[in-house]
Subunit: 187 residues, 2 copies
């Protein structure tokens, strides 16, 4: 699937078919995540793929952001000790940023595989860490739900008009139309 | 360009050809960024596209992360007032995360356009905000350099072995091989 198509067609999917996700497809998503950039090349991320029903149920109980039980969750965790030792005092922030770059790659790679996803930040970090048996220094930053979407797909939330959020050279410098962007709103 | 190809072939490019970037291509990148997900749908991002040589030179003087003068920079800024009013006390963090999702879309869309990019976090936020004439509540979170890469392209930093960073069900649960991932390191 074309990059731009994947970017424009991706939706946050919260209702999944019961069908499980093939392990090798989950492997593709993790590989995509691993090739995201890493600030100062700290490479402090860990990816924990959860598919066991009892683990998913337990995750849901400590993650209000998980509305329904997905077939799989990829927990993106940061080894803060490694992040700080390689990235200095800003290492923790760099690790968090890396988790987001990696998550976005997962969302797009999933789109290409016909899978739906949603990024979740609303969960109790300590409880998820305990549940996933992470050592003290490894902190779950994001959960990405993965599964075959239940039809119909959700509609995209409209975006703000481009003229409001795109600027040229400086804030409030008219920008969108000079860059060939007219309108906005729908994909 | 295929999503997975873009993900695997993307490199952080720090040396650019002198050739400028077509405005409509920069528009495509911003459009890709706008279609990244937004935590709680806060849509608090602003994109300032900088191409004027005097502005780029001024940016460089307050951004140690800018090693050379790129043909273009996309400053991704967060309207923290909007982020907090829509996302509550966690709004500022959600805005920062959104900036990263958007940045990753820019990197991949650029790859499809034959453009090189690098995400920069090492800059003085206050100075960049002043330079870009942002109001007090709009904070530059990331700078993305954009340009045609100078050959040869940088080599990819090797990744850690998959067995070290990929886990199944729980941390230190063997994972990579169960997901079809053997080895790691190079793309």
């Amino acid at each position: 699937m074309d990059v731009i198509t994947a970017i424009l067609e991706r939706r946050s999917v919260r209702r999944f078919a019961r069908r499980g996700v093939e392990p090798e497809k989950l492997g593709h998503l993790v590989k995509a995540a691993i090739w995201a950039p890493s600030g100062s090349n700290i490479q402090a991320l860990h990816f924990i793929v959860v598919t066991a029903p009892d683990m998913l149920t337990a995750l849901k109980s400590v993650a209000p952001g998980l509305f329904s039980l997905p077939p799989a969750v990829i927990a993106i965790c940061v080894d803060r000790q490694r992040a700080m030792s390689k990235g200095g005092t800003g290492g923790s922030l760099l690790g968090m940023m890396d988790a987001c770059f990696a998550a976005q790659n997962i969302l797009l790679a999933a789109q290409a595989e016909g899978l739906g996803t949603c990024v979740i930040r609303s969960f109790h970090q300590g409880s998820v860490r305990t549940l996933l048996q992470c050592p003290q220094e490894v902190v779950p930053e994001l959960l990405v739900t993965v599964g075959y979407p239940e039809e119909p797909l959700p509609r995209a939330p409209r975006r703000r008009p481009w003229s409001e959020v795109v600027h040229l050279e400086r804030y409030a410098g008219a920008g969108a139309s000079a860059l060939g962007l007219e309108g906005g709103g729908d994909p």
